[in-house]
C-alpha cells in the first residue's frame, strides 16, 4: 500500500502512470470491497478519464500537484455534482446533487481522482457504521469488527488500500475514532478551516470536513488542497492559504505536551492507556516536555454534545420531508401524512432517536433547562482548553477508550456506543483541532492516540505527529487481507 507522497514520486519519475495507479486501486476495490463494504457508489469511468488527463499533462512535461492523479474516496455526505449523495439513508437513496461541495471542487482543481462515495452511519450519526441503511462496513484488520464511525467507509477504504486517501466528516469524533480503529491518520481541523459548503449538515456548529491518510506527511498534502477560506460558508475563517508541508520536519525539542488527567480515567482500556503513555515517552525522548494538565469540565462534554448536536440535527434534518427531493411515502392523504409517513419510513432508528431528543431539548419550557444550559457549559469546556493551551503547545490523549469492537456488540446499547466518542467530543465542542494517529496494537487491532491543538494550530499537530512517525513504525503496519498486502 502506497502513501500519497510515494505515488507522487512514482508519477513524477514515470514509474507508474496515473492510469496504472487508478487501475491498481480499482482492481483492489473489485477484489476486496465485497467483504469490506467501504463503497456505496463507484465512479471508475470518471476516475480513469481524469487519470488520462493527468498522464497527458505529465507527458507534456508539466509540473503536477501533490494530490494530482492520486485516487481518493469521499464520504457519502459530501455533495458531488451529478453523482449520488445518499448519506447512507433511504431518505436520499436517489439524491443526485446539482453541485459540488467546495472541498470536491478543490480536489478536482488539484487533479485528484475520485473513485467513489463511501459508506457511513446514516446522516453521520453513529460510531460503528452499523447505522447505514444499505450495508455493513467491516474493519480491514478484523472483518468481525466495526471500522468505527460514522466515517467508517472512508477509513476502511484507506486501510484496505482501496483508496490512497479519503475525506470524512467529524462532528464528535467521526474521523478520529475510525482512524484509530483502522490504524490511520485522521484529522478534525479547526472549525472554520475547511469549508462546510456541500457537506450535508448533521450539527452545523460542530461539523467539520477532514481526511484519512496513511501517514502525517500525506495529511499535510491533503490539507493543502482542502483548507482555506470559502466565501460560500459564512463560518469559514478568512486567512491566507498555508503550506502545511512546511510544518513537517524540525525537532520537537522544547515543545510542551500536556497530558489531561481526565482522559485517562476509568473506562479507558489498559492497553490503550499504556500505548498512549508510551507515545508520550517517545516525545519526551525527542526532547519534548510532558506536563500534567487538568480539563475539569470534560465529564460534561458528552452530555453537552448530545444536547447541542441533536438540537441542530433535529432542525437540519427537517428538510427531509418528502416534498422536494428524496424519499416520499406512497401512503398519504394530505401534506401532514407526507411528512409523517415519509420520515417514519425514510429514517433509521438512530436518526429518529436524535431528532426526538433534539426536538425535546429545543421545545418551549425545556429550552433553558437543556439547550441554553448546554451552551453555557460549552463555554466552560472551551475555557478549559484555552487555559490548557496557556501552559502547553498540544495535548495528548487516547482517541477512543478501546480498540475496534465487534459488529453487533453495542448496536442495541446506544449509551455504551456514545461512550466511544468520550475523548473526541470535547474537541468539536471547543472547535479546536485534533489529529489521531496509530501508536500501538492491542489484540491485533490498532490503537490510536489523539494530539489536540489550539485554534488553527494544525501545524503543531503535524509537526509533532511527523516527528513521532519518523521515530516509530506503527503507521507502516498494514492489515492482512485477502489478495495480499
Amino acid at each position: 500500500m502506497y502513501t500519497i507522497h510515494e505515488l507522487h514520486e512514482k508519477l513524477k519519475n514515470k514509474d507508474l502512470s496515473a492510469k496504472e495507479i487508478a487501475s491498481m486501486y480499482i482492481k483492489r476495490i473489485e477484489e476486496q470491497d465485497g467483504i469490506i463494504g467501504a463503497y456505496l457508489e463507484k465512479n471508475f469511468e470518471n476516475a480513469l478519464n481524469d487519470a488520462q488527463k493527468v498522464d497527458e499533462r505529465i507527458s507534456k512535461g508539466e509540473e503536477i500537484k501533490d494530490v494530482e492523479g492520486i485516487p481518493a474516496a469521499i464520504k457519502d455526505n459530501i455533495c458531488t455534482n451529478r453523482v449520488k449523495t445518499t448519506c447512507a439513508s433511504k431518505m436520499l437513496e436517489n439524491f443526485i446533487p446539482p453541485y459540488d461541495a467546495t472541498v470536491i471542487g478543490d480536489l478536482k482543481k488539484d487533479g485528484a481522482l475520485l473513485l467513489g462515495k463511501t459508506n457511513m452511519d446514516e446522516f453521520a450519526m453513529g460510531s460503528s457504521t452499523e447505522n447505514s441503511a444499505f450495508k455493513l462496513v467491516r474493519n480491514p484488520w478484523d472483518t468481525e469488527c466495526v471500522p468505527g464511525g460514522s466515517s467508517g467507509g472512508s477509513a476502511a477504504a484507506v486501510a484496505s488500500g482501496e483508496a490512497a486517501f479519503a475525506l470524512g466528516s467529524d462532528t464528535g469524533g467521526s474521523i478520529r475514532q475510525p482512524a484509530s480503529f483502522c490504524g490511520l491518520v485522521g484529522i478534525k481541523p479547526t472549525y472554520g478551516l475547511v469549508s462546510r459548503y456541500g457537506l450535508v449538515a448533521f450539527a452545523s456548529s460542530l461539523d467539520q470536513i477532514g481526511a484519512f491518510t496513511k501517514d502525517v506527511e500525506d495529511m499535510a498534502v491533503v490539507l493543502n488542497s482542502i483548507a482555506g477560506y470559502d466565501e460560500k460558508d459564512s463560518t469559514s475563517y478568512k486567512m491566507d492559504k498555508k503550506d502545511y508541508r512546511k510544518a513537517l520536519g524540525g525537532d520537537v525539542k522544547g515543545m510542551k505536551i500536556g497530558i489531561p488527567a481526565e482522559y485517562f480515567k476509568e473506562g479507558i482500556s489498559s492497553d490503550v492507556k499504556s500505548s498512549v503513555l508510551d507515545a508520550a515517552k517517545v516525545f519526551e525522548s525527542l526532547g519534548a516536555e510532558v506536563v500534567d494538565i487538568s480539563l475539569p469540565y470534560t465529564e460534561y462534554a458528552l452530555a453537552v454534545y448530545y444536547i447541542l448536536a441533536s438540537a441542530e440535527a433535529s432542525s437540519n434534518l427537517a428538510r427531509f420531508d418528502g416534498i422536494r427531493y428524496g424519499y416520499r411515502s406512497k401512503k398519504f392523504e394530505d401534506s401532514i401524512d407526507i411528512y409523517i409517513n415519509s420520515r417514519t419510513e425514510g429514517f433509521g432508528d438512530e436518526v429518529k432517536r436524535r431528532i426526538m431528543l433534539g426536538t425535546y431539548v429545543l421545545s418551549a419550557g425545556y429550552y433553558d433547562a437543556y439547550y441554553n444550559k448546554a451552551l453555557k457549559v460549552r463555554t466552560l469546556v472551551k475555557q478549559d482548553f484555552e487555559n490548557a493551551f496557556k501552559k502547553c503547545d498540544i495535548l495528548i490523549s487516547p482517541t477512543s477508550p478501546t480498540v475496534a469492537f465487534k459488529i453487533g456488540e453495542k448496536i442495541n446499547d446506544p449509551l455504551s456506543m456514545y461512550m466511544s466518542d468520550v475523548c473526541t467530543v470535547p474537541i468539536n465542542i471547543a472547535g479546536i483541532c485534533a489529529l489521531s494517529l496509530p501508536c500501538g496494537m492491542s489484540s491485533n487491532l490498532p490503537v490510536g492516540m489523539q494530539l489536540i491543538g489550539n485554534y488553527f494550530e494544525e501545524e503543531k499537530l503535524l509537526k509533532a505527529g511527523y516527528a513521532y512517525q519518523m521515530n516509530t513504525d506503527w503507521h507502516k503496519m498494514n492489515p492482512e487481507l485477502r489478495g495480499g498486502k
Binding site: 455526505n77 459530501i78 455533495c79 449523495t85 448519506c87 436520499l92 439524491f95 446533487p97 446539482p98 453541485y99 461541495a101 462546510r196 459548503y197 456541500g198 457537506l199 450535508v200 449538515a201 450539527a203 452545523s204 456548529s205 466565501e231 460560500k232 460558508d233 459564512s234 463560518t235 438540537a311 441542530e312 433535529s314 432542525s315 427537517a318 428538510r319 427531509f320 420531508d321 416534498i323 422536494r324 427531493y325 401534506s335 411528512y339 426536538t359 429545543l362 421545545s363 418551549a364 429550552y367 439547550y371
Partner: protein, 474 residues
C-alpha cells in the same frame, strides 16, 4: 359597557434588494415558477446561507428612519415549522437580537399628533408560494429567500382608524427611503394585527386575537372594526374571547378562525449556527443615516415654512418624493411657489392621471413650468392662455415661449382693441346684458368669457372686465 380597544400591528415589507437574503438569486417579482432558484434558496442538502449585506443595510436604514436604536451585535435564529412553501422547514429569522428596537412613528389623529411605538424590526427570509390545482398542490420557490423586514409595533393604537393611519405612515416612510416598493397587491407589504378590548379604566389587557391576511388599508380598518364589535358583543353577552388566529375574508367582510391557541406552534427557536453574528459599526450606521433623505413629515413642514404653501398643498406635493423633487426643481425658475403648486396640483396631476403618465415619463420640464408661471405673472399671457400653453407643453414638451409665439397668445392690453371686442360681444348677447341690468351679476362672468374667447385668450382679463363694466353702466 364602554370598552377601550388595543391594537398592535406586525408588518412585513419585502426589501428592494436586487438579490435574495442568503444567496445571489434575483429577488425580482414573478418569473416562470422555480426559475429564480439555486441550491441555497431551495435549501438543498449541503447548501449554506450567506447574508446579503444590502438587506442588513436596508433594515438599518428603515430602523433609523423609524427612530429605532440599532443593535450593534445582532444574530440570526431558526424558526422551525413544517410547511411545503418553506424549503428548509425552518425559516432563518431573528429572535432575541433583532437589528433595530424601540422606535416610533408619529400619526395625525383627530385629537392631534400621536406617537405609536415600534418594538422591533428584524430581518428574515420570505417563503415560497403554494398554488392549489385540481389534482394537488404546486410550489413555486421564486419568492423563497426574498428579504423581508418585520416591523412590530407596540400595542399603542386605540382604534381601527389609528391602525390604518399607522400603516399608511409606515408605508410612506419605507417607500420614501427606498427600501421597499410596498406594493400591497403584490404582497410586498403585508399586515397582521393583534386586537383586544378591555373595560374603560382597566389596566389589564384583555385576551387578544390575531387577524391575518389583510391586503389593503381599507381591509385592515374594516377587519379591525369587525373584530372589535365581535369581541364587544361576546363580552357583553357574558362570553369570553378566545386567543385565536383569525383570517379576514374580504368578500364576506368577516373574520374566521384559522387556528386556536391549543394548536399554536412551538417554533423551537435557536441561534442559527450556519451564520456568524452580524456586527454593525458606528461608522456604517452613520453612513447609512446620511443616505436617508428628508422624510415626508419634515419635508411637509419645510414646504409650508419655506414656500409659504397651505398645508393642503404641502401634503399633496410631499406625498411622493419624486413629486416633491419635481416641485422644488420648478421653484428654482420662479419666485411664485403657490402658482407652481396650483399648476402641478390642478393641471399636471390631472393630465398625468388621464394619460397614465408617471413622473419619470413626463415630457414637460420644471424649467418650462417656471417660465410659464413667470409669463402669467408678467402679464405676457392671460391665465386662460396659460392653460392652453400648459396642455401643449405637457403633450409636446415644447418651450412655453415658443408656444406663445407660435400661437400668438401674447396678452393684449390695448384698450381700443379690447373695447372693439367688448362692443361686439355686447351687441351679440342682448339677453345677458338685460340679465345683468336686472341684477344678475353672473351674467358679467359670462360676458367676460365671451370677450376672452373672441380675443382667442389674448385680451387682458382685468382690462376686459373694467371696460365691460363701463359699457354696461352706460
Amino acid at each position: 359597557m364602554n370598552y377601550e380597544t388595543i391594537i398592535g400591528l406586525e408588518v412585513h415589507a419585502e426589501l428592494s434588494t436586487k438579490t435574495k437574503i442568503y444567496c445571489g438569486c434575483t429577488s425580482e417579482f414573478g418569473g416562470q415558477p422555480n426559475t429564480h432558484c439555486c441550491p441555497v434558496c431551495l435549501g438543498l442538502p449541503g447548501s449554506l446561507p450567506k447574508i446579503n449585506k444590502k438587506a442588513v443595510e436596508y433594515a438599518v436604514k428603515a430602523g433609523l428612519a423609524l427612530n429605532c436604536s440599532i443593535t450593534r451585535a445582532s444574530r440570526m435564529a431558526r424558526k422551525n415549522y413544517f410547511y411545503p412553501d418553506c424549503p428548509k422547514d425552518y425559516q432563518i429569522t431573528q429572535q432575541d437580537f433583532p437589528l433595530c428596537a424601540n422606535g416610533f412613528i408619529e400619526i395625525e389623529t383627530k385629537n392631534g399628533p400621536k406617537k405609536i411605538g415600534i418594538e422591533r424590526i428584524h430581518i428574515e427570509e420570505d417563503a415560497g408560494k403554494l398554488l392549489h390545482v385540481r389534482d394537488g398542490s404546486l410550489v413555486d420557490y421564486n419568492r423563497a429567500g426574498v428579504p423581508l423586514i418585520e416591523v412590530v409595533s407596540k400595542p399603542d393604537m386605540r382604534s381601527p382608524e389609528e391602525a390604518r393611519l399607522y400603516l399608511e405612515k409606515l408605508k410612506s416612510i419605507l417607500w420614501y427611503i427606498g427600501v421597499s416598493d410596498c406594493k400591497m397587491e403584490e404582497g410586498s407589504l403585508r399586515c397582521d394585527a393583534n386586537i383586544s378590548i378591555r373595560p374603560e379604566g382597566e389596566d389589564k389587557f384583555g385576551t387578544k386575537t390575531e387577524i391575518k391576511n389583510m391586503n389593503s388599508f381599507k381591509a385592515l380598518e374594516k377587519a379591525l372594526g369587525y373584530e372589535r364589535t365581535r369581541q364587544k358583543e361576546l363580552l357583553d353577552g357574558g362570553g369570553t374571547v378566545h386567543q385565536d388566529t383569525r383570517r379576514w375574508d374580504d368578500s364576506k367582510e368577516m373574520t374566521f378562525v384559522m387556528r386556536s391557541k391549543e394548536h399554536a406552534h412551538d417554533y423551537r427557536y435557536f441561534p442559527e449556527p450556519d451564520l456568524v453574528a452580524i456586527s454593525i459599526s458606528d461608522e456604517w450606521i452613520k453612513e447609512i443615516g446620511q443616505s436617508i433623505p428628508e422624510l415626508p413629515d419634515d419635508k411637509k413642514k419645510r414646504f409650508i415654512e419655506q414656500y409659504k404653501l397651505p398645508e393642503y398643498d404641502a401634503d399633496i406635493l410631499t406625498s411622493s418624493k419624486k413629486l416633491a423633487d419635481f416641485f422644488e426643481e420648478c421653484v428654482k425658475y420662479t419666485d411664485d411657489a403657490k402658482s407652481v403648486s396650483n399648476i402641478i396640483m390642478v393641471e399636471m396631476l390631472r393630465l398625468m392621471n388621464e394619460k397614465g403618465v408617471e413622473i419619470e415619463g413626463l415630457k414637460i420640464t420644471p424649467q418650462h413650468i417656471g417660465k410659464l408661471v413667470n409669463l402669467v405673472n408678467k402679464k405676457t399671457i392671460s391665465s386662460t392662455a396659460a392653460k392652453k400653453v400648459f396642455d401643449e407643453m405637457f403633450t409636446t414638451g415644447k418651450d412655453p415661449d415658443a408656444i406663445v409665439k407660435d400661437r400668438g397668445l401674447i396678452q393684449n392690453s390695448d384698450t381700443d382693441f379690447i373695447k372693439g371686442i367688448v362692443l361686439k360681444v355686447l351687441s351679440e348677447n342682448q339677453q345677458s346684458v338685460a340679465d345683468y341690468k336686472n341684477g344678475k351679476d353672473r351674467a358679467l362672468g359670462f360676458l367676460v368669457g365671451r370677450v376672452m374667447k373672441e380675443s382667442k385668450g389674448k385680451a387682458n382679463p382685468a382690462i376686459a372686465n373694467r371696460i365691460l363694466k363701463q359699457e354696461l353702466s352706460k
